[in-house]
Symmetry: C2
Subunit: 233 residues, 2 copies
Amino acid sequence: MNTLQHKNLDDCEKCFFKAISCQYIKTEEFLRMQEQSLRVHFTRGEEILKQGVKSSHLVFLQSGIVKFCMHDESGKGLILTISKAPAMIGGADAINNGLNLYSLQAVEECDVCFIDYRILLEIAMTNSLFMLKLMEMMTGMFKSSILNFISLAHKQVNGRIADILLYLSRSVYENRSFTLSLTRKEIAEFAGCSTENVIHTLSKFHREGILLVIGKKIEILDVERLERISKTG
Amino acid sequence: MNTLQHKNLDDCEKCFFKAISCQYIKTEEFLRMQEQSLRVHFTRGEEILKQGVKSSHLVFLQSGIVKFCMHDESGKGLILTISKAPAMIGGADAINNGLNLYSLQAVEECDVCFIDYRILLEIAMTNSLFMLKLMEMMTGMFKSSILNFISLAHKQVNGRIADILLYLSRSVYENRSFTLSLTRKEIAEFAGCSTENVIHTLSKFHREGILLVIGKKIEILDVERLERISKTG
DNA sequence: CGCGAGCTTGACGTTGTTCAACTAGAGTGG
DNA sequence: CCACTCTAGTTGAACAACGTCAAGCTCGCG
């Protein structure tokens, strides 16, 4: 499936999840968790988590970019959201009942930690503040996908693409200019429209001087106009 | 704003939230929470919670049906989901940072409890199992709206209306035949389409023998066909 | 009896999908 | 080193889906 690195203290030293955890729990508790955790490297296109499978681990993204996706009954793909590291990206389902709501797939090279849910819970049970923090991270995870949906569900394609570009620029690549790690087809699955429509819209924005589009390289030239398009739908 | 009933032991006796809570916490702890809680009655159209306002209370729906809604920049309404009692309907935002993501509005006569978040948290901090249960209820709340979105975001109107009808029938009214407490306009805001389109689609389903539609009264005659429409988009 | 809100219908233009044809780069194998 | 093929991207045209508009309907309420 993919190269599995050994648990490596060096990797965990600079870990964001460790930093947060150790504000609340003792280092030896973290190490106990770490022993039962897996750190795995994924390359573009590999599946990190599979929709419908029982989730027994909390999933934390150390580096890279992932997509949250689903396949509906007709087989068409569908992207819920895109997240960049560091972030909690899965496992909240473990709390409830257990089946993953969505699949996770690497969009770029990724490092991912799978943290054994039982041990995590065991530790969290003795530490309310830590539990609260976990809760916060999980609801935050849901929140961001809901916000994405809201911006997408009731607008037409111009506005949706504008939203996606603004989102990618602000929250993923954190730059007005970026090199897409998504294909046009993936953008289409994110926007809920056809690939051709994405291309038409991108080249329209390009013609109108809102964007600079050269293959995978995109630069937002006129942020305000893009925001206006996002608002007017 | 609305008629405010006094805290009434009788009302709380049959409360679902109490039943769940008291599996984990002591009765006197619950009573302490109850003292700082408000039970409020709402009638159709009244606003229970306002988007953007700081949330300081957990909101629990005792009886009735509510809609989760938002207003986008252009002022168009937008319904995230519909929930029936008993359910946790708001306040998960309190954990995070505080502003309500969405508004809540009564669709029918409703009884709602506002539970002071600080006291709830105080109690939950001393009781991990209770905290875990709360966490479960909150993630469940998000989950249901995500599931709704998924079914809606990437289908065309036929499929979306079919989904909404199936959802209302199964999860809200719990009957193949029901009397809508929503207007066509509200269904349109749920489905993300125009009011006219809702009407066209409903009467098409009626003509084709899938539904019986007489004003607000709807009966699903051919569940299988409706499911097929939901799947094929 | 008249008014207004919600509902219904059909016509028409816009938006978006589908299809088919074409281009460009990246392997692959002889 | 050159076909060959595969995938991603691009373009335009035809067609279907959907929103908008305008008109009329129905029912409840004053």
